[in-house]
Amino acid sequence: MNKFGEKILKHEELGIIFFPITALYIAPLFHELGHILMLKFFLCPIKIIIHFSFVMGISGYIEPLCELTPLKAVLTLSAGMFMTLIISFILFFLARKLERKSFVSILVNSLAVGFFSSSFIDTLFGKGDIFFILKIIGLDVSPYILSAIALILITIAIIYFWRSLEEEIIETKI
């Protein structure tokens, strides 16, 4: 391995950089893929537009060109969030299986927390698919309550990430 590679691997904390990269550019792609796969499963033709912005990350516009029942609409809307959530749980599980105090382990944890927080970040700011789902179901939940739940969930994930960072970087250096 070259010197640059060795230097990077010595600074495990640099794995944190993959957290915002995942949350902004990778997770949104999988989120859209979740919607697309569900609509494809319902054999519904679609129109897709994916926007890329260096500052704001990736965002998508999907137009189903068929009539969906309320149940199919709810399933399609929730597929995006479930896609990123399932990936995040797989990655959290993988990170635990990996060798401790390694750059790769922190990288996988960063990817996991990126996918997880990306699932709830829109809800935190009072936007996103969950509001449409509730509207279709006919449930009237205060956006403040939903934002608070999203904030709690994201905070738990970040605290878990912080704890694993502490274990892998700090405690091993003592």
């Binding site: 957290f19 915002p20 990350g57 516009y61 189903p64 009539e67 399609t76 936007k127």
Partner: protein, 40 residues
């Protein structure tokens, strides 16, 4: 039509939050690492 389109929101606040959290994590880890190296 129940579902006309699915649009992901594009918010600067989103990127700002992610960058802020990562920066805070990185700074605190580097600070603690330095503190440990100094005392050992």
């Amino acid at each position: 039509m129940i579902l006309q389109s699915i649009e992901t929101v594009n918010l600067v606040m989103k990127s700002f939050t992610f960058l802020l959290v990562s920066a805070l994590l990185l700074i605190t880890i580097l600070y603690q690492k330095r503190k440990i190296l100094k005392t050992s």
